[in-house]
């Protein structure tokens, strides 16, 4: 499953981080690497972006930016 497909309340472990270079750098900054626990905690009124709980911080990410980040649902 991909990060952007997570439903509200879903938790998962990041399996593979794939995105374009710019986005990857941003994601690495906030600590989104393989093995990271993520939880989908919020949806914006138009469903995109969604907010994820990543290492204690709530981070909004656009679907397009995380559509190739593989997650194993817990």
């Amino acid at each position: 499953m991909f990060l952007c497909d997570m439903k509200l309340g879903n938790k998962g472990i990041v399996k593979k981080v794939k995105a374009n270079d710019n986005i990857i750098k941003r994601l690495l900054d906030i600590g989104l690497i393989e093995g990271t626990l993520v939880e989908c905690v919020l949806k914006s009124p138009f469903n995109d972006p969604k907010a994820y709980l990543i290492r204690g911080a709530t981070i909004a990410i656009r679907d397009d930016d995380c559509k190739e980040i593989e997650v194993d649902l817990l």
Binding site: K43, S44, A60
Partner: protein
């Protein structure tokens, strides 16, 4: 004098620490990237002078954005004795990431774990002693908002125990570093050779050039080192940046696991509940609109009475000033300029501006401090994405409500240069505080009626006007993205910080002193010469008609075609230094006497306007034109500074003006049918 750099993630209270240490009142906000420039201040502790620099808040030093570059370059290449890294106790793990990165560059680091009060509320405890043991540098705990722990932080400035932890990387990478280190011996000045080695391996062109300038020699001119590097890189064949980041993040996680205890796993449940409502499909957008209207309601309602009082006070005072001027025998033209020119423009600006600002700014600061603004960006991002721009533009628009110049420089929080430019060029479509009074006055006079207390209607009209501004922002952003600023939307990651209870008293003091006084001061400085010039304009007669009226009648045919008149147009042009003086100029021109009339209430104002041919169409066109015209001089200067380009500054002037003219023309033509 010792130099201290203050680093940290965005939104961790870095600026609060800075303010307490320096006593300077620099504004801190609850969104990323508040510290736009390197603010610096001086303080003294135990007879040592410290010069402290507040670096932009960053998540890492990988320098993906302008701000990160500023922070990294300061830490790497500026002379400093110490770096204080401010961390958020609630979210320590991610903050440690930056700490580890900085420790790699320099040893002299003090870690300041801030927001301990917030952590306590959420039942999160941090073992500071253990953290200090692990990191090998001084660690102090603070809650800067309550001024707790600052003494410990000051104490730590004298610390001499710096023996920082080293992050170990992948074995191959470690071997590579070990192979390069000997060549760097003694050549890296204050920089940690290990860090230089790492960065040579991961090679970033920008950093490499800065490094070259700093070290005064080009490492790659040494063929031997160059070949070594090349061979090593080929041998280990791995994504070095990725490996480095992964190791740092994992190390941060490991440390956090050892020192942080969560006594309540569900510590952010309350924030989540609030967020669920504020960002819900059903309520998210309406709540934002209602909040906007409530703020206007409080502002308009609250400002009416003090405005009136100020008017009365100033006109009462005027008699005494005139008497006094007569008493000391000043020439008539001088007292005319002084009283009818400068004094009246000045008091108009104060009476009309001060009360709404003194109410609006604190309200806005409350919103800012509570953490609500990033949610607006979150809610609206999809719409911005559709326009190929960035959700953070919503934040710069919010800043624009206060002052467009602030909104323009605030656009630095947007990473992509293209999207940043769009945010800068469209910021003027958000009416700033200087334009609100004009809008509110005209709405009250022409739509609501002076005696009617139908304040709700005026708020609805004002909100519609702002919605028009927002619509234009989207439209223009979209058109720019499809034409001159072609591009696809870049990535968007935005932290939604925890809600914090704003400190009401501090908000009040801070917003009044920092913002209100600042903006009012600016308006006053502009109003004084403007008052004199306008008076001269209105009183120098050629063929019995004032210069102002000459110009006005020259502009009249064009102005009439777009629903305005020559006087209104010239008022907008002369109001270029500050939008606040548009209405006073209009009045001065309408009055044949060439001075702002004394007017005790809005009814007299209405009469002047109606006598001079104002209709409902005129009022609508004035409203629209005040929403869409060239930015004020301060904003233009800021745009020039931020874009560094005369061309884009011109675009920022022409774009809204042309749109304004087109809209007004359409309105005028349509009005003929009614």
């Amino acid at each position: 004098m010792k130099v201290v750099a203050l680093a940290g993630n965005p939104n961790v209270g870095k600026s609060t620490v800075f303010n307490i240490l320096t006593g300077m009142h620099q504004h801190t906000g609850n969104w990323p990237g508040k510290t736009v420039d390197n603010a610096n201040g001086i303080f003294k502790y135990k007879n040592i002078n410290y010069n402290i620099y507040d670096l932009p808040g960053t998540y890492s030093l990988m320098a993906h954005s302008k701000e990160e570059e500023v922070a990294r370059d300061f830490i790497c290449f500026e002379e400093h004795d110490l770096v204080i890294v401010v961390c958020d106790a609630v979210c320590l793990e991610r903050n440690l990431n930056l700490v580890l990165q900085i420790l790699e560059i320099t040893d002299k680091v003090i870690v300041c774990v801030n927001l301990l009060d917030e952590a306590k509320k959420k039942k999160i405890s941090v073992n500071l002693k253990k953290l200090q043991e692990i990191l090998g540098v001084p660690v102090v705990g603070t809650s800067a908002r309550n001024k707790k722990g600052i003494d410990k932080l000051l104490n730590a400035l004298e610390s001499k125990k710096f023996n920082p932890i080293e992050v170990k990387y992948d074995d191959n990478l470690e071997t590579a570093i070990a192979n390069i280190l000997p060549y760097l011996e003694g050549k890296t000045k204050n920089l940690n050779p290990r860090w230089v080695a790492l960065n040579l391996l991961s090679y970033d062109e920008k950093l490499y050039n800065s490094l070259k300038d700093y070290l005064n020699f080009d490492i790659f001119t040494d063929e031997f080192i160059k070949n070594q590097l090349f061979n090593i890189k080929r041998e280990i064949d791995l994504d070095i940046v990725n490996t480095i980041t992964n190791s740092t993040v994992k190390k941060a996680e490991e440390i956090a696991n050892k020192v942080v205890t969560f006594n309540n796993k569900d510590y952010n449940a309350k924030d989540r509940k609030i967020d669920k409502i504020l960002t819900s499909k059903l309520f998210g957008i309406p709540i934002m609109l209602i909040l906007l209207m409530v703020i206007f309601w409080i502002t308009i309602k609250g400002a009416n009475y003090p405005s009136d009082l100020l008017f009365k006070f100033f006109s009462w005072l005027e008699k005494y000033i005139l008497n006094f001027l007569q008493l000391i025998n000043t020439p008539w033209w001088f007292s005319e300029i002084l009283v009818n020119g400068i004094y009246r423009v000045l008091t108009w600006v104060i009476s009309v501006m001060l009360p709404p600002m003194a109410i609006f700014f604190p309200l806005f600061t409350l919103l800012e401090d509570s953490g609500f603004l990033p949610r607006i960006a979150f809610n609206l991002d999809k719409a911005f994405k559709k326009c190929c721009s960035c959700g953070k533009q919503a934040l710069t628009m919010c800043m624009g409500f206060g002052c467009n110049a602030v909104g323009v420089s605030g656009a630095r929080i947007i990473d992509s240069p293209r999207e940043r430019l769009i945010a800068i060029l469209t910021n003027v479509f958000v009416p700033c505080n200087g334009r609100f009074p004009t809008m509110i006055t005209i709405i009250t006079i022409f739509f609501v009626g002076i005696n009617s207390n139908n304040i709700f209607l005026s708020i609805v009209i004002l909100t519609l006007l702002i919605l028009l501004g927002i619509f234009l922002t989207f439209l223009v952003s979209f058109l720019l993205s499809k034409t001159v600023l072609k591009g696809i939307p870049s990535s968007f990651t935005l932290e939604l910080p925890p809600y914090r209870r704003p400190q009401f008293l501090k908000v009040l003091v801070r917003s009044i002193f920092n913002r209100t006084i600042f903006v009012l001061g600016r308006a006053i400085i502009v109003a004084i010469p403007a008052g004199a010039i306008i008076w001269l304009f209105a009183n120098i007669n050629i063929d019995g008609i004032s210069l102002l009226n000459h110009v006005a009648s020259f502009l009249d045919p064009f102005a009439k075609a777009i629903g305005l008149d020559g006087v209104i147009l010239i008022a907008f042009i002369l109001g270029f230094p500050a939008n606040e003086i548009v209405v006073p100029i209009m009045l001065m021109a309408y009055m044949a006497t060439g001075q702002i009339i004394e007017f005790s209430n809005l009814e007299s104002l209405r009469q002047i306007l109606v006598v001079n041919g104002w209709t409902l169409t005129t009022a609508i066109c004035v409203l629209v034109f005040s929403l869409c015209h060239f930015p004020c001089s301060t904003t233009c200067l800021t745009i020039k500074k931020e874009t560094g380009s005369l061309k884009w500054t011109l675009v920022s002037i022409l774009l809204p003006t042309i749109i304004g003219i087109i809209l007004c023309f359409i309105i005028k033509q349509l009005s003929i049918f009614f």
